[in-house]
Amino acid sequence: MSRITNYLTGAFLLFLLLSCTNDSSDKTGKTDSLNQLKEELHLEKFSNVNIAENVEVNWNNALQTKKKDVAIVEFDVKEKIPSKIQSSFLKAEMNYQLISIESDGESKNYFIEVFSNNDSEAYSKTITKLDKFKGVFNVFSLNGQNLGTIAINHGNARNISESKALDFLAETINLFYSSSGNTKKIPLCDGRYTIVVEQAQDRWRVVSLNGKILSVEYMDTVVTTSILPYPCDGSGDRDAIILQRTAHYYTSDGKSYAGVSGLLDVVITDPSFSNNPCLVAVFTKLGGSPTFQTYLKRFDVDFSVADLKLSVGIDATHPTASAVTYQPVNSLIEIKFNPEKLDTPPLNIAKNFAHEILHAEMFEKLLKLSKKKEIPWSAEFIESIRNDEPQIAEYYTRYLYDIPIGGSISDPQHEYMAQLSINTIKDILKQYDNTQSEDVYTAIAWSGLMGKGIINSTTGLPPQPTVAWVNIPQTERVRLKEIYDNFIKNNTPCQQ
């Protein structure tokens, strides 16, 4: 309903604004539509504090542009107190704008937050002249809903959030974009690309005698069609990759603030992490996973007792581990990714994010219940949280503090995740990349939750398996291991 109201309001506003007449009724209508737009804009509903409290729209100066059947009206938005970004690759200045677009009777309104790359010209206060601009737009509805992010590279808009709500805006921006070369058509390495290639093969009949060619006759041409991988610019267009992966900027305390996708504002990213293209790309794309965001939101400063830090390094005790989540220290939980273990496909790296965020979530729950800055580990503490977190308490009891007869010590969090979180990990993987089969998601989700030790090729079991993995039928275990192996072997790694 509100969407229809938005369209009607925008269409009405545009109609009035683009009118050349000056009679009093038009002026009244213009004022009415402006008032309506003002009514629809609820800055106070924006979760981004800077937008909610520090910006104001200049309603007196509307920039109008028309191209083909598209009419655009843009209002400049200024910060009351100019804020600055501390970033190694973004300009310090931020820009905001209110945009209303009407095309074919359809009208939409957007509030955008603009970040400019260091090597870009300053934002020209219009989406119609972006040929020298490089940066990203955080796009919101007028009531503060984060619609996603559009990356701009010399006027070319990419809907990197792959949000349908942004298609209209991206297409409008691209109306004003003229490609300067074929290289701009090369996609970023953020997905699988294929190209259909028609291979034409001419066949000739060669008649020879004693090594001497007597005649050559054209027979026919056989055309075969193949689907081949299309090259993406993983090692090429650094600027484009940065645009795609621009995901966060920092305040002076090193904490990211109102990040591009809306999820990075809740984590602390160590430079070792933010300088790693593979991890940043996967993490940015995970912004499109509502399930992952739900878990990450637990670390939103408004609700969380713990901060989450993402870093890159090799754990001394577990040097071959792909990633490690450290328990809270002074209310800080750290996930460290091994830079030498990024040579698997991005979807597998996404699984590592999902796996580690589940560890972090359990630590956060325990910390919250302890009401301390570190978890006071003991059987008593675990018992004390049983009413609040019965499942976590049960897994710590059963696999650590009070192992039943016949049972054995095991990692409580891995046992918990193997039993209860496989579908959660699968959901995140599907939201990250919906092109794989159900079996592939299942196989990847299990990786890391099968247990410890060398996996037997016949049984699919390591010497210390998780209980949930043992409960999977043997043929299924072996099959899943095989699917995982094939997936790793046959897909492009995130980092080489």
Binding site: Y230, S322, N352, W377, I454, S457
Partner: protein, 157 residues
């Protein structure tokens, strides 16, 4: 007309080759293993040579004594876990080795190693166990030929 077609054909073949090369540009290292090397914790090759694994000791756990010390510390931690206040994440016996799995795929048989780039087990271990995933594991057979397995490591997370 035919000339144009021929050029077109060659051109298309060139494009095709270019794409094929893209597809095969995955970096895949090779490690040469001496199956009698003490650094090799264990290996197993199925009779039908469809599956194999090669487990390589991490350097700090080369000595049996070191492994026993770590295991003893772990056992003590387990014993005292109820009252020690120990972080359960630290009550984990570390992996003593890194395991390469070749699964459901026969190895390539090589007559010689001529022209094949590889690193030795020592080089692999000295370089912090850095290799590609998957990695080719190469070892010698009694008849003087070699087997080359395409093997992956499982995520430890």
């Amino acid at each position: 007309m035919s000339t144009i077609k021929l050029i077109a054909t060659i051109f298309i073949f060139s494009i095709n080759m270019m794409f094929s090369q893209e597809n095969n540009e995955f970096k895949r290292n090779s490690i040469y293993l001496n199956l009698n090397d003490k650094a090799l914790e264990s290996y197993k090759i199925d009779k039908d040579t469809m599956n194999a694994h090669f487990s390589i000791y991490l350097k700090k756990y080369d000595s049996k004594k070191e492994r026993e010390i770590v295991t003893k510390i772990y056992d003590t931690k387990v014993k005292n876990i109820k009252t020690s206040g120990e972080n359960p994440s630290d009550v984990i016996l570390p992996n003593f080795s890194i395991v390469f799995y070749a699964y459901n795929e026969k190895p390539e048989k090589l007559k010689s190693l001529k022209g094949i780039k590889f690193i030795t087990l020592k080089e692999f271990r000295d370089n912090n166990y850095v290799t590609s995933n998957p990695t080719y594991i190469i070892h010698k057979l009694k008849d003087g030929t070699y087997l080359k397995w395409l093997a992956i490591t499982m995520d430890e997370i």
